[in-house]
Amino acid sequence: MTGIQTGLIAFGVLIGLLALRIHVGVAMLATGIGGYVMLIGWGPLLAYLKNAAYGRYSVYDLSVVPLFLLMGQFALRGGLSKGLFDAANAFIGHWRGGIAMGSVGACAGFGAICGSSLATATTMGQVALPELRRHNYAPGLATGALAAGGTLGILIPPSVVLVIYAILTEQNIAKLFLAAFVPGVLAAIGYMLAIMVYVRIYPEAGPAGHRRTWRERMRALGSIWQVIAIFIIVIGGIYGGFFTPTEAAAIGTIATGAVALTRGGLRNGGWIACVYGTAQATGMIFLILLGADVLNVFLALTQMPAELADWVIGSGLPPLAVLFVIFVILLVLGCIMDSLSMILLMVPIFFPIIMGLDFFGLDSTEKAIWFGIMALMVVEIGLITPPVGMNVYIINGLARDVPMGVTFRGVIPFLCSDAVRILLLVFFPSISLFMVRWFA
């Protein structure tokens, strides 16, 4: 049996286990364990498990994951989302569709200090939904904008998914964050444009709010200085190379914790609630990480990733066609799986293929960064596509009177914006790469 055949069987088994509602991490672990034992036996497997968990979890760069998640919890408890929303609205709330656009802007701001989409969607949803409804925004536009806006939590660095990608592909986290910055801002602008076009077609969907005076605007801006300061310290520190991403996450966590503390967000068990929130999100990610580790070792033993890469390279298919096939696979998987599981499952297989192909003459580091940014965008689309779209579920949980179908339809303009952005990133790699080249 070839490596590719073994790998395909393993995928079949994995999908079968997932369909039976086995936890994603456990399904990967079980498939990996089964395959490992078949290939080299119980002895090596039992020996491997002695140190696998410590080996997987004691990685310096990985420690940014729980740190960024704790930082997001502090930002949530510190009420930073409300200040961001008010500030954005003070400037553009009086435009048609302006409050929805302000919500997207606030999501982008929150994403700049939070590494997770879930937290961004939850916290901004709580703040913005009541306001959007009060101003008679169409339910689909309100929930759609927030579900899509939530993805900015991960598209704008810092981003937990990018950290995992960096570790899987041995790339520099700082460079990936740098590369994600412009595409992330483009995503926010694209979502705002989508709202603009939408309210031009359906003017009653997004009524204008009232215009604020410049004095009110300045006051609103004043309340978000902490967010800006934290963002500059964290991301500026990483970009400037003053400290490593882990150190930046530590500083950001302490700074955000201090803001939450001074605003009273850590009172009445606030710190404990932050730890519980972090524990849940971290536990979820790290169980999958352990499963993916065992599964990937098994796949390496089958030699499937290498064989597949050789086969694709030998087939003479145009590189861009291969890239689009990969995107389609990720999009289809994204309909039913979460982004992190997909990255952990597919990157070890697709990455060697991409690295073996020529795209616009990019060198290997640039190719890895460029592909990483696009893969991030494609898997994050899964958060808002039916049937399983985590962000849609979260926003719908907050707006219980809006049918799920209405929210999924409300997301369509934002999906169009996503498609345009990804095409731009494919054909103009320098959008992702110019900041990296500029800083290098």
């Binding site: 994603v24 004691s58 420690s63 500083i251 404990i272």
Partner: protein, 173 residues
């Protein structure tokens, strides 16, 4: 993905469930303390390096160990609040009874895997203790990190057995 948010979680009833819930929360808070200490230590090291040219010796090693300890201590709590991800797309239209059976089996499998890992980790701990394996700069024995990890995986297994039990109770209904 059947991913509940922590605040939606209803605390378990019955003495057994409450005791397990308490233990899981205790471990999560322990992990939170380690994580917070790690963040403070990193900040102290950066300040020391930037201001006085004296970083904390072995800060990288401490972060590695702290990361392993804190994330492992988070695992049981995540299961207690049903935070570990499942794909519920394929079974969306199944009757509740079938779902209860599947979820019982899934939790039992999670428990089995957790106990397997805990057992192997315990063996690994003994071996590392015997061999004197330690970190490069500070010479902190590696097995120290395994000490909280073994009970964390045991507790993850117990939490999974408990959720299996709760799911099994739903089967006859």
């Amino acid at each position: 993905m059947g991913e509940a948010l922590a605040h939606e979680h209803v605390r378990p009833a019955g003495p057994l469930g409450r005791a397990l819930d308490l233990a899981c929360r205790g471990f999560a808070l322990g992990g939170g303390l380690v994580l917070s200490a790690m963040a403070l230590m990193s900040v102290a090291s950066i300040v020391g390096r930037a201001a006085f040219g004296k970083p904390i010796t072995g800060d990288f090693e401490l972060v590695q160990m702290g990361c392993a300890i804190s994330v492992t201590m988070f695992l049981p709590f995540c299961q207690m609040v049903r935070g570990h991800i499942i794909v519920d797309f394929f079974t969306a239209r199944m009757p509740p009874r079938v779902l209860a059976i599947l979820d019982t089996a899934a939790s039992v499998l999670l428990a089995a895997v957790a106990f397997l890992v805990a057992w192997r980790l315990a063996i690994g701990l003994q071996e590392l203790r015997g061999s004197g394996d330690s970190s490069m700069i500070l010479r902190v024995p590696t097995w120290y990190a395994y000490v909280p990890m073994v009970p964390s995986f045991v507790l993850l297994g117990l939490a999974a057995l408990y959720t299996a039990f709760v799911n099994a109770l739903k089967v006859p209904a």
